[in-house]
């Protein structure tokens, strides 16, 4: 009897892995051969609406200058642009840097100084955005360096009245620093160039990522504004907008440099933060999604559900390993060697090979050829992610329960860039190679 139950559970685990495997393959083939959708990227001339760019900051003296200088160089009508850095009780020189910029550009840069209230990015955005009436709110992390055209590109989708949020592609800038950064570059490529774009192609649920993106003010207020009781306000926002009838648009062409973690402890903290927030969203929205709101197609409901469960796959995989181990000791023999191969390959690739396929496809589409040779080292990254995700999930569901752990402190990725004085930040994108001269 126990063996039967365990076998059934193992089948369930394998079935879940197969579903996610198929999902990855479908996305990759859609990206490769499907109808490519970037319907707003060619809106280059328009009556641009007022936009506010928020930059939540906490001790960002190393990077904030680069971000602001890049925004000052943005090609956007000056009379319709407001830049609001939100200084949340920084203890370094961030405040002084922002005061200097505010004095030099009083009409353009209007910092918000937080001295109280809950710390954290979501709380900072909630407080600052409530004071702003512009139609579009864009958000950039302090270490991002937007290009001159990026603001217009991110605003263009909002001409569509159904669009509630937009997300661009983040591109690691500090790629060469370590094996980890090179692996994260590969993972990001897979996640954006293939995964997100495929969801856009297929009219599914691209995810708003919380940076290099923006929300419509009307949409934001219709879903209750930024939530502070979650660690993944971006995932939370995605599903609130979705359930309320707003579209999230992913724009592959809207690229922006970011810094990725350069060491494993930072990476693990990042993964755990994402896991916690994502799992909060899972428990909060999966039932509402499965109740199938009328304006969503069943494919969107399915994709949204799978997206919510993406950080649960790790622990499920570990459960599968445990089940396989127990059944092995109990002498369970698979009914066919194919089944055994399925189990082994699914478990062996710490998920499924489809993830490697997605990453390799993305690097090829990027025109980056040789870096894909590092593919086998992705095992390391996946292993660390698997352990971090599983630890956090177990702690969340078994340890502390699902209490809404909110961001009681600033959770952000470590900064590596050297402090800048006024002028373009280091690592600013190379000049266009599109010119014929």
């Amino acid at each position: 009897m126990i063996v039967t139950i365990l076998i059934a559970l193992l089948w369930v685990v394998v079935a879940i892995l197969v579903v996610y495997t198929v999902r990855h393959y479908v996305f990759t083939f859609s990206r490769l051969f499907g109808r490519h959708r970037q319907p707003y990227v060619d809106i280059t001339v328009a009556e641009w609406p007022p936009v506010t760019v928020f930059i939540p900051c906490h001790n960002e003296q190393q990077v904030i200058t680069g971000s602001i200088e890049a925004l000052l160089a943005a090609d956007y009508p000056r009379d319709r642009l407001t830049i609001i850095p939100i200084d949340d009780r920084s203890t370094d020189a961030t405040g002084a840097i922002l005061r200097d910029y505010a004095a030099r550009y009083p009409a353009l840069i209007k910092p918000v100084w937080r001295t109280g209230g809950m710390p954290g990015k979501a709380a900072a955005l909630a407080e600052a955005s409530a004071r702003v009436g512009s139609e579009v709110h864009l958000v950039f992390d302090a270490d991002y360096i937007p290009g001159p055209k990026l603001l217009k590109q991110l605003v263009a989708p909002f001409f569509d009245p159904e669009v509630g949020a937009v997300m661009g592609r983040v591109v690691p800038q500090n790629v060469s620093r370590s094996l980890l950064t090179r692996l994260l570059d590969l993972e990001r490529a897979g996640g954006y160039q293939v995964d997100q774009q495929a969801r856009m192609n297929m009219g599914l649920v691209p995810q708003y990522g919380g940076t290099v993106g923006g929300v419509r003010r009307e949409a934001l207020s219709s879903v209750g504004g930024w939530r502070t009781d979650t660690l993944a306000e971006d995932t939370d926002m995605t599903f609130r907008l979705l359930l309320r009838g707003w579209e999230v648009v992913y724009q592959n062409r809207s690229e922006c440099y970011e810094e990725v973690p350069e060491n494993w402890p930072t990476r693990i903290r990042q993964i755990r933060r994402w896991t916690h927030g994502h799992n909060q969203a899972l428990t909060r929205y999966v039932n509402k999604l499965l109740a199938h709101p009328g304006h969503l197609s069943w494919l969107q409901v399915l994709d949204g559900t799978l997206l919510l469960g993406v950080f649960a796959v790790g622990p499920i995989l570990l459960l599968g390993w445990m089940l396989a181990l127990v059944l092995y000791y109990l002498g369970y023999q698979p009914s066919s060697s194919i089944f055994m191969v399925l189990i082994v390959s699914a478990f062996s690739t710490l998920g499924n090979f489809a993830a490697f396929f997605e990453v390799a496809t993305a690097t090829r589409l990027d025109g980056s050829r040789n870096r894909v040779r590092l593919l086998p080292f992705l095992f390391f990254g996946f292993l660390v992610s698997l352990m971090a995700v599983s630890q956090e999930t177990i702690k969340q569901f078994v340890g502390g329960g699902l209490g809404w752990r909110s961001a009681k402190r600033w959770d952000k990725t470590e900064r590596y860039r050297q402090p800048q004085s006024g002028g373009a930040g280091t690592g600013a994108a190379t000049h266009a190679d599109g010119g014929e001269a």
């Binding site: 959708r37 319907p39 707003y40 990227v41 060619d42 809106i43 280059t44 001339v45 328009a46 009556e47 360096i145 937007p146 290009g147 001159p148 055209k149 217009k152 590109q153 001409f159 569509d160 009245p161 159904e162 591109v171 690691p172 500090n174 790629v175 060469s176 094996l179 090179r182 570059d185 419509r216 009307e218 949409a219 207020s221 219709s222 009838g245 690229e255 922006c256 440099y257 009328g294 304006h295 990027d366 980056s368 050829r369 040789n370 870096r371 040779r373 590092l374 593919l375 086998p376 080292f377 690592g427 994108a429 190379t430 000049h431 266009a432 190679d433 599109g434 010119g435 014929e436 001269a437």
Partner: protein, 385 residues
């Protein structure tokens, strides 16, 4: 028990396993592809990037005496000057020919088949006979009149540019003044103008941009001897009428319509009756048909096909997941973003003189008298019908 065979076998097996890892290890230890993706954020399809690049390139490489000679020609005014050519090489070794007067002197540097293998710099007003093939870039510092069936690799005009019927532009053309494309011309790359862009019938294009893009009848007046025209090819270009905003809608919405924050959602197909009005933005999950003379007082998003009748006004942007057809004399005040094909009826306007807008679609068909105040991007080709 000897462990030596085991250790040897282990070493051999480890080496065999590591063999396919060699490319990965080489890339890890001696990176050849570890730079961030290039030009992130700096190559967002600015239409004039090539023209600007060419201008900068000439400024860097044109010899000083050539610059002086050109300035002297232009300072001499628009009076006819004796035709002359001056050949040389730029700083990077590219051959060029500097012209004054008409283009007849190009014969001296052209091949027998009419191809000109030099960068052409025309310092004054220029009229070309037609049939030439310019294999390198062309800079026209004064008004330029191209002849029929000429082929230009790339063309930068510092004034008005008018290309004859059947002209072909391979890479790009930019005019600091007005740009006119003769009937049947083909622009493969991008075309832009700081002034107006006038497209005669059967012009095909992909990405174009100007303050005012208009489809016009073919020119009936020949250029003057000095190469200038009166610039009113095809008649005057009427601005769209200015209407008061829609306060409330008159059209009856279907039973399932829901008013969301920011727009009205209609499930399924919807037909806005002729003359009806809808206030605010509209999202239709099916197909949309808009009757003649109707008005939508905001933007509209259609998940199915969109058919807009004659004399319709949309006070915002039209976004369509499939194909769209606009009737005659329609006015879309915002942009027109269609994921498949769009046909814009005669006399319609997209945008306005003070409200620039874009048209984006897979294919774009412009009937006579259409005006677009901004840019048109036809991913799979556009045509003037």
């Amino acid at each position: 028990m000897s462990v030596t065979p085991f250790l040897l076998l282990l070493a051999a097996t480890a080496a065999w396993v590591l063999l396919p890892l060699i490319p990965a290890l080489r890339e890890l230890l001696r990176p050849t592809d570890a730079e961030p993706l290039n030009a992130v954020g700096h190559d967002a399809g600015d239409l004039t990037v090539f023209a600007d690049g060419f201008r900068d390139y000439l400024a860097r490489h044109l010899p000083a005496d050539a610059i002086a000679a050109g300035a002297a020609t232009r300072e001499g005014g628009s009076t006819a000057v004796a035709a002359s050519t001056r050949v040389g090489t730029l700083g990077d070794g590219s051959p060029y020919v500097q012209l004054t007067g008409d283009g007849a002197s190009l014969r001296d540097v052209a091949h027998a088949d009419g191809s000109v293998p030099r960068i052409v710099i025309a310092d004054g007003p220029l009229t070309l006979r037609g049939g030439e093939t310019f294999l390198l870039e062309f800079l026209a510092r004064g008004p330029m009149h191209g002849g029929r069936d000429a082929v230009y690799r790339a063309l930068l005009g510092e004034g008005d540019v008018s290309l004859g019927e059947g002209s072909e532009v391979l890479r790009w053309v930019h005019a600091a003044g007005d740009l006119s494309l003769g009937a049947g011309s083909i622009v493969h790359g991008r075309a832009s103008a700081l002034g107006r862009m006038l497209l005669a019938p059967n012009v095909t294009f992909s990405r174009i941009r100007a303050a005012r893009i208009a489809t016009v009848a073919p020119a009936t007046d020949a250029p003057a001897a000095d190469g200038t025209t009166d610039g009113t090819v095809g008649g005057s270009l009427e601005d769209p009428p200015i209407l008061p905003p829609v306060i409330s809608g008159t059209a009856k919405l279907p039973a399932g319509a829901t008013r969301e924050r920011g727009y009205t959602r209609i499930a399924g197909d919807y037909t806005l009756p002729a003359g009806g009005t809808v206030s605010g933005a509209l999202v239709v999950s099916g197909a949309l048909v808009v009757g003649d003379g109707a008005r939508i007082g905001g933007s509209v998003k259609v998940h199915g096909d969109c058919v807009i009748g004659d004399d319709v006004v949309v006070d915002g942007t039209v976004v369509c997941r499939r194909g769209a057809t606009l009737g005659q004399r329609c006015h879309v005040r915002g942009s027109l973003a269609v994921e498949r094909d769009v046909a814009i009826g005669a006399g319609s306007w997209i945008g306005g003189p003070t409200t620039p807008a874009s048209v984006a679609a897979d294919t774009v068909l412009l009937r006579q008298g259409v005006q677009v105040f901004g840019a048109i991007s036809a991913r799979h080709g556009g045509r003037v019908g």
